[in-house]
Each structure stands twice: as structure tokens, then as C-alpha cells.
């Protein structure tokens, strides 16, 4: 099994909440993709930890999520404790996102050596110029008609070009990744068991094909490093030795998918939210130095990674009044926690000046988003460039159409109109 775990309800168990399960089903329903927040509120208000009919515990409260993701009795390996799983080769479940320590810690450190501190401090910071130039070039390419789909023309290509550069993947192969990446994350989009089975099959095939492609790229770099992350992984022995080829492929698949399926939504969600709040957009344009706070508030309100369904309890764990029973799946609804009124006053309000900025948009605990620093810079630069250079930007359609995926949520297209395009300013 190479894909993310099945988040569809299965066999009912005793003790599950039918009301919560019904609300969760409505959450999964594509009809509600444009605004899942009232459903989160309903779930959270009923109880911040609830058991669904199929036995999974859904966590929607801020404090409860922080507790669970820091609890060493909660595994991030959805297959932990199951012995019916063979080795299916490299894939997402073998990447550190779905591993526990010590394997997780070692793999993450070995990857971090080529991405950030302590060994590669300054690398992400050094990409600011490239990101700005890329964003600027994309805006230069906007059609003269003054109408554009921001997802296709901007939010998608920017992070994808950057992740390809970081990893060392040729831009021209991008369409193939796009298809593979979409297939790998597709299983939670299924609406019937038959469809789920078919999507899992397709995801499995895509994982194999992507793995084979990356294995080739890795081999080319072995002995001839090219300054990218993949070259680092295959050549730098570090203090902990080399990763296995299988580990390298799994890690690279994870990073590619992370780069394809999250920041695009962040940029699109951010642009959408700003366009819905013209007064805040005016303030940002008047003082772009406020972008860091604006961005964190955008991420709190509209996090791309809404729910992570990978966790499982290794023992009974008490959270508030609820005991999460040993062996149960645990689903973490970050997006619900980000609007928990017990932590964020007036949580549905977009307020870049709010005191609490400790949102969970990038997760928390040892699995906090690996690529967060890159995503943060890309999104902040992208949104700043966009709204500084385009005048009189308007949404064509609100709400826009959404991608099917309920867990990695974002618009499938975001049509805007704009007036004048100002010339690019100096690259900062």
C-alpha cells in the first residue's frame, strides 16, 4: 500500500457518533468543499474529540490536537501495529512523514542536511531572489486581456518550478509529475468503495512510475553531484551514512508531492481571501512589510492541509473526557483547530493584527511541515508581487470551483480580472 490511508467510513463500530459521522460525510461531499468551516464548527462544538462510526477518532479542538501530536503514544505510521502489510517498495508510506522515530528522525535529518540548518543554513533564504524573479516572470506572462486563471498561470507553476529546482528535476518533465502527483493523492476523493479501490490502484501505479523515474534521476547523480537536493541525498554520507535507494525515492516522492499539492493551494487560498477583504488588501498594498503577519493569518484561516488522517494510537490515550482506544486511527483536523474559539477570539474573522499567531497551518510536533520555510517564502513573495503589480484585481466567481480533494483543499481555478500591470520593481 503506497497511498495515504482511506478516509472513507467503513464498517460501523460501537461507540461511534452517528451525528459526527453524518457531518463528516457532508464534509467529504464535494458540495461543501467551498466552505467546510461550519461543518468543522459543528463537529468541534459537539466534542473536540469524537469517534466516527468507522472507529476513527476525529480531533477538531486546538488544545486537543496539540496534545495528541506531542504524545509519543500516537504513531504517525498508519500501518503501525498491523502485520498484514508487506513491503510494497518505495512510496509515501515509507517516507518520513509516515514513519516514527528513530527512522523518522534519521531520515528527516539526512534530508535536512541539504535543505536547512544546521548544515545548509541560509539555503532557503538564498532562494528569495529566484522566487521573486520567477513570480515576476509569471506575472509578465499574464494575458493582455486582463483575465487570468490564477491557479494555472501563477499559483501552480511557481511552487512547482521551485520544488523542481530544489530537488533537481527537469522542468520539462513537469506534466508527467503533475499527473502522477494528482493520482497519488486522489484516493480520499472517492465517493464509493469501488471508486476508492480504483483510485488506490491508480495511485499505486503512479507511485511505481514516479519512483522509477526518480530512481533514474538519482542514478545519474550518483558520483556526479549537481548541487541539488537529490544529488545531496545520493552522494553525501554525512554522519549517519547514506539513505538507501528506496529511502531516497520515498523521500523525493514525498517532497515532490508536498511541493505540488500544498503551496499552490496556499497561494490560491491566500489570493482569494485577500480579494474577499478589499480593505485588508488595501492596507497590505500600502505597507507590504505587513505581509508576514497577513500571511500567517491567511494560513490560519485557509490552511491547504486541512486534515491529516495518518495517525494511530499505540495505547489507550485519554484526551479530555474521551479515551482514544488502542489501535484506532486518529484524524487531525488542523483547519478546525485554527478556528477553535477557545484559542482564537472571533475565529472566523480575518484579522492580521490578532495577537495569537500560533496556528497549526503547518502542523506541529515532530512531523511539522518539512517544506514550511520554502512554502512560506514562496507564498509571501507570490502574494506580494501579485497585488503590488496588478491594479484593480477582482474575482470573477465567488466561490470559485474547488479541487475534489477534501484533505488538501484549494480552488481548481481562480479566475480574476485586473487592470494595469505595473512594471516589476527591483528584486529584493
Amino acid at each position: 500500500m503506497n497511498t495515504s490511508p482511506d478516509s472513507r467510513p467503513g464498517c460501523p463500530v460501537s461507540g461511534g457518533s452517528s451525528a459526527a459521522s453524518a457531518t463528516w460525510d457532508r464534509f467529504l461531499d464535494h458540495e461543501n468543499r467551498h466552505d467546510p468551516y461550519p461543518l468543522y464548527a459543528r463537529l468541534r462544538d459537539a466534542a473536540p474529540v469524537q469517534r466516527l462510526d468507522d472507529g476513527a477518532f476525529l480531533i477538531t479542538g486546538y488544545d486537543e490536537i496539540l496534545q495528541v501530536v506531542h504524545d509519543p503514544r500516537i504513531s504517525s505510521d498508519p500501518l503501525a501495529g498491523r502485520d498484514d502489510v508487506g513491503d510494497a517498495g518505495p512510496g509515501l508510506t515509507a517516507a518520513f512523514v509516515m514513519q516514527d522515530p528513530p527512522a523518522h528522525d534519521r531520515l528527516r535529518r539526512q534530508t535536512m542536511r541539504h535543505f536547512g540548518p544546521p548544515h545548509h543554513a541560509g539555503y532557503i533564504d538564498s532562494l528569495r531572489t529566484d522566487i521573486t524573479r520567477t513570480a515576476s516572470a509569471l506575472i509578465n506572462g499574464f494575458p493582455a486581456s486582463g483575465t487570468v486563471d490564477l491557479v494555472e498561470a501563477f499559483a501552480y507553476p511557481l511552487p512547482v518550478m521551485m520544488i523542481c529546482d530544489v530537488l533537481g528535476v527537469p522542468h520539462e518533465d513537469e506534466p508527467r509529475f503533475h499527473a502522477w502527483s494528482m493520482a497519488i493523492i486522489a484516493p480520499p476523493e472517492a465517493t464509493t468503495p469501488e471508486e476508492a479501490e480504483a483510485l488506490r490502484e491508480e495511485a499505486s501505479t503512479a507511485t511505481r512510475e514516479l519512483g522509477a523515474y526518480l530512481a533514474h534521476l538519482a542514478e545519474v547523480r550518483r558520483g556526479t553531484p549537481q548541487g541539488d537536493l537529490l544529488s545531496g541525498l545520493v552522494n553525501d554520507h554525512g554522519t549517519e551514512g547514506l539513505m538507501s535507494t528506496s529511502e531516497i525515492i520515498s523521500t523525493t516522492i514525498m517532497l515532490l508531492i508536498g511541493g505540488h499539492e500544498t503551496t499552490v493551494n496556499m497561494i490560491a487560498n491566500g489570493a482569494l481571501t485577500l480579494l474577499r477583504h478589499p480593505e485588508e488588501l488595501d492596507r497590505l498594498r500600502a505597507d507590504p512589510s505587513t505581509m508576514p503577519r497577513v500571511f500567517e493569518e491567511l494560513l490560519r484561516l485557509e490552511p491547504p492541509a486541512q486534515v491529516t488522517p495518518k495517525y494511530v494510537a499505540l495505547q489507550d490515550v485519554r484526551v479530555g473526557d474521551v479515551t482514544i482506544t488502542k489501535g484506532s486511527p486518529v484524524w487531525i483536523a488542523w483547519a478546525a483547530a485554527n478556528r477553535d474559539p477557545r484559542h482564537f477570539a472571533d475565529p472566523d474573522r480575518f484579522d492580521p493584527l490578532r495577537e495569537n499567531r500560533d496556528h497549526l497551518g503547518f502542523g506541529a510536533g515532530i512531523h511539522a511541515c518539512f517544506g514550511a520555510p520554502l512554502a512560506r517564502l514562496e507564498s509571501q513573495i507570490a502574494l506580494a508581487e501579485l497585488f503590488i503589480r496588478l491594479e484593480d484585481v477582482r474575482l470573477v466567481e465567488d466561490p470559485p470551483p474547488y479541487r475534489r480533494n477534501p484533505l488538501l483543499r484549494g480552488p481548481s481555478r481562480l479566475d480574476i480580472t485586473f487592470g494595469r500591470v505595473l512594471p516589476a520593481t527591483t528584486v529584493s
Partner: protein, 516 residues
């Protein structure tokens, strides 16, 4: 600009080190080191880092703090009332900020015996000794609109409870409606007065101390002798090794930090020190210091009869409370500091509560949260902040909120971060609950009887929050069952915390308060 990181909150997510690598660095995998006084040119990156920090641990200068929601609640003070804070360090500044953010608009006066504005002390034994920050570069960031009367360089010499007045060394008198005692501690000097005054013999508590010691290190001494293997002593030894200066560390316990953290963790730290080239002399004391004719220290003799030649001696044997100015005032003081109740209100000699006198920080001797009648003082950064916040709120509201936060403290040394919660110094057992001591990344959990009372992480800080919760809930010890991070079987044995002496439970967190 000025910045400070609340390391009790920091979980080493490293977002700051990605975004502002010239200001925030990691030593090893998890130990954050930052420039407390960075150039203005990095402001945008620092603001980006502060906004990005997942635990919101980065404090910046000039940040306007909105009044807290409870600011509109009725207060015990009016706009004409005056609060006097004695002590201009972390606790004093935190109290002032809490008063103002709570909406207090009356007069606030802060009296401090050092001439400096409130500054952060943890960097003194790290960044300042390494030279990555100046001794005057650790001033604490603060809101620009605090509206405080600062009386710095003026020592308080007395407290007149009846006249509600603080007496100053120059004869000045400062009247108050409420007073907060936050006078902290000073370094315990070497007990042989003649030797304590030798040229080359240092302590480290103040910015001046750090400046003097840094100057010695710059002069490349042949060898530094650190007396006392507590947090300060160990960090000084770490700085010396980073500077490639030979260092001998003498500790009377079986290993550095053994009193604070127990034998199991301390033995690991002893190995770490030796691997980094520290000449570690455990179970050893200094019997004498020798000096040349000009009164400059030249050598030290140890209890095992051995001797080393040294150019610099740093005495790191703990702290003394600054309570002398209160003698005869009618405020109860003891060896642990100023007695107070759980709401930070000072007590009179007969144990009655003094309604207008409050205490916070290192100098406060407060009831042990267990309610068993013991008194404790906690000499840690996080305690100064949390206790001063509670005290200030109680001053403002007249309420009796309790200060009962589970203590958290940290130390950066030898490329590792050590983070502890609860009261590991008072436990009787310890077990490695996660990770591996061999890998130098683990969590040790401490128990008293069948309850978890503390935890110490070495480079495993993201898990600490879990144990803090366990301590608060009185979870059962030892932790049982499978975790994601089980230690090797060989390390999973419950051991006595200390194999030599039972800890002195009346002197919590004062491992450094040992006499040689």
C-alpha cells in the same frame, strides 16, 4: 534592534533559522543560538521569523501589546495609584509589561541597583562569552509605550511597611500603593574571601561579570578552571571549548548537573563534556587557589591532591538571594528568599499575608505546589516570567490567582539543548522513556513514588510538552506501554535518581547552591 527568544516555549522548529540565518543559528540539531542585538538591516527578516514561529517565542522591541481581554475587568487600583517594582531584571520588566497590557494606567516606578536597562541573562554565559553578542547587547526587548519611571543605578536599602515606602541608598524615599519585590540573586562568591578577590577569579551573574570574563577569554588563557558543574558552570565550560580554550571543570558531585538532573542524565552529560575536551574532575573539590606576587591566580589544588596551572578561575557555585535590604522590615525572609503565598503575596514574620507587598522571580520562596508545606524557590527564566505575570495581575485586580505553573528550564551546551519540566531534582526514580542516551537524543522521566514529577530531554524538545502535561495530571510512573520512540531495552530500566545522596528537597532547583 533587540530580540529575545523565550526558550521555555521554543521547540526547535527552526523557522527563524531558515528565514533569518544571520540572526538565528542552530548548533547541532536542536540548540538555537541567536544574536540578541542584531543589526537593523535584518528587521524585515526578523519580523518574518517572529510571525512564523509556531510557538510564538520570539520577542521584539517596540511591539505594542494590546490590553488583554480581561483589561476591562474591575481593578483594585486607580489611575492615581503607584506601583513600585524593586528589581529591574526579567521579573521586574515582565511585571511592568503585564500591568500595562492589563490596562493599569497609574504610576509605575522600577528601581534597580545596576545602571543598565533590564537585560537578559541567559546569553551572558553563551553568546557573550563566545563574542557573538556584546555584554551590553542583551537588553530585553520591550514595548515602546510602557510609561515607566526608571530609577536605575539606585539600590533599595529598606522597606517601610507602615509608611508604604521604599528607602534608597542615597536617602531617597519612594512611596507606593503596591510594591513588588523582584531583587533576584547574586553570584555566590568563593568562600575564601582573600582568594575570591584574586586577579583572574571571576563569577558570572551580571553584564559586567560577562564583560570581564569575555575579556579574559579573548586573552587566550592557558587554562580556565570552572568550579561547579551546574548549568552556569557547564555552559561556561562549553563556551571555553568552543573557543578552543583548555578548561578544567571541578564538581563535587558524581557528574555535572547530577543534583539537578540525577545520575542517569548527568552521566551522559559527563561523557558529552569529556568528548568535547573538558578536563572533568567529578567528586572533587578545590582545596586552595594559588597566586603570584602580584595577586594573580596561577594554580588550583584539588581534594585528590592534584594541581593544575590556570590563568582564569570561574566560581559557579550558585546564588545568594538579595534579601538583606529587607532585614527588620517586617517581611519574612529565609535562606530561600522572601516568603510568599501561592498568589505571590509576601508574608509577615507570623505568616500573615501582606496585602500590598508582592514577590516574584528568583527571590521568591513560595509554597511547593504539592501543598506539603515545603517552600521552594526556582531560579529559572520561565519562573521569573510566569510568577511576575501572576503577581502583576494580582496587584492590578486584587485577585488571588495562583502561580502553579509546572516549571520549565533549559540549557544550551556543547551543541545540545537540555530542557526540563517539573521537579527532576526532587524525584526519587528516573527512567529513559524515549530515544536513546547512546544516540544523545532522549527523554528521561522522573518519578516520586508512582507519579511522574519531572522530565528532561536532551535534543528531543518537541516531546517535552507531553511530559509537562503528564506532570500536571499526576500521571503514573513509570510510563508503560509502547510509544513511537521506545528506547533500547538496555536503557529501559527504572533507576534511583541518585545513587549517593537523597536530594535536598528544601532547596529546589538550586544545584548550583553548593559550597565547595
Amino acid at each position: 534592534m533587540r530580540i529575545a527568544v523565550d526558550m521555555t516555549r521554543c521547540q526547535s522548529y527552526a523557522q527563524c533559522a531558515f528565514l533569518a540565518p544571520d540572526v538565528f543559528r542552530f548548533e547541532g540539531e536542536e540548540a538555537l543560538v541567536y544574536d540578541p542585538d542584531p543589526s537593523e538591516e535584518f528587521r524585515a527578516r526578523i519580523e518574518q521569523s517572529a510571525a512564523a514561529c509556531p510557538v510564538q517565542a520570539i520577542r521584539l522591541d517596540g511591539e505594542h501589546r494590546r490590553p488583554a481581554p480581561e483589561a476591562s475587568a474591575p481593578t483594585a487600583l486607580t489611575a492615581t495609584d503607584r506601583v513600585v517594582v524593586v528589581g529591574a531584571s526579567l521579573a521586574g520588566l515582565t511585571a511592568v509589561e503585564t500591568l500595562r497590557s492589563g490596562g493599569f494606567t497609574g504610576l509605575v516606578t522600577v528601581i534597580g541597583d545596576e545602571p543598565d536597562e533590564p537585560y537578559d541573562r541567559p546569553p551572558l554565559s553563551k553568546q557573550v562569552l563566545l563574542g557573538t553578542a556584546g555584554a551590553r547587547g542583551t537588553r530585553l526587548p520591550r514595548a515602546s509605550d510602557l510609561d515607566v519611571e526608571w530609577r536605575l543605578g539606585e539600590a533599595a536599602t529598606g522597606l517601610d511597611l507602615r509608611a508604604r515606602t521604599v528607602l534608597l541608598a542615597d536617602g531617597g524615599r519612594v512611596p507606593y500603593d503596591r510594591v513588588l519585590i523582584a531583587t533576584g540573586t547574586r553570584a555566590r562568591p568563593w568562600p575564601v574571601a582573600r582568594d575570591a578577590g584574586l586577579d583572574g577569579v571571576h563569577t558570572l551573574r551580571t553584564a559586567d561579570d560577562a564583560e570581564r570574563l569575555r575579556a579574559r577569554l579573548v586573552a587566550r588563557p592557558r587554562r580556565v578552571l570552572v568550579i561547579g558543574g551546574g548549568f552556569t558552570g557547564s555552559e561556561i565550560a562549553s563556551a571555553c571549548r568552543r573557543l578552543d580554550i583548555p578548561v578544567t571543570l571541578v564538581d563535587r558531585g558524581r557528574a555535572p548537573l547530577a543534583r539537578a538532573l540525577g545520575d542517569t542524565v548527568a552521566d551522559v552529560l559527563a561523557d558529552v563534556q569529556r568528548e568535547h575536551g573538558v578536563d572533568l574532575r567529578s567528586s572533587t573539590t578545590v582545596t586552595s587557589l594559588r597566586a603570584d606576587a602580584r595577586g594573580t591566580v596561577t594554580a588550583a589544588t584539588f581534594s585528590d591532591g592534584s594541581e593544575v596551572d590556570v590563568d582564569v578561575v570561574v566560581v559557579a557555585i550558585g546564588a545568594l538571594r538579595n534579601i538583606e535590604w529587607l532585614s527588620g522590615s517586617g517581611v519574612a525572609v529565609g535562606p530561600l528568599g522572601v516568603d510568599c503565598d501561592a498568589s505571590c503575596r509576601a508574608l509577615g514574620p507570623d505568616g500573615t499575608v501582606l496585602d500590598d507587598v508582592f514577590v516574584a522571580g528568583d527571590v521568591a520562596a513560595f509554597p511547593h505546589p504539592s501543598g506539603d508545606g515545603r517552600r521552594v524557590s526556582v531560579e529559572h527564566w520561565g519562573n521569573a516570567v510566569s510568577q511576575a505575570s501572576v503577581a502583576a495581575d494580582n496587584i492590578r485586580t486584587g485577585g488571588q490567582a495562583r502561580h502553579d505553573e509546572v516549571p520549565v528550564f533549559w540549557s544550551n551546551q556543547f551543541g545540545h539543548v537540555i530542557k526540563s519540566v517539573g521537579t527532576p531534582e526532587a524525584a526519587d526514580s528516573v527512567v529513559i522513556a524515549q530515544g536513546s542516551t547512546a544516540r544523545r537524543a532522549f527523554v528521561a522521566v522522573y518519578g516520586t513514588g508512582d507519579r511522574v514529577v519531572g522530565a528532561t530531554a536532551l535534543d528531543h524538545v518537541k516531546w517535552v510538552e507531553h511530559y509537562r502535561r503528564q506532570i500536571g495530571e499526576g500521571a503514573s510512573f513509570p510510563p508503560e506501554g509502547r510509544t513511537v520512540d521506545d528506547p533500547p531495552d538496555a536503557e529501559r530500566t527504572v533507576r534511583p535518581r541518585s545513587r549517593i545522596t537523597r536530594p535536598d528537597t528544601s532547596a529546589q532547583h538550586s544545584d548550583e547552591r553548593t559550597t565547595p
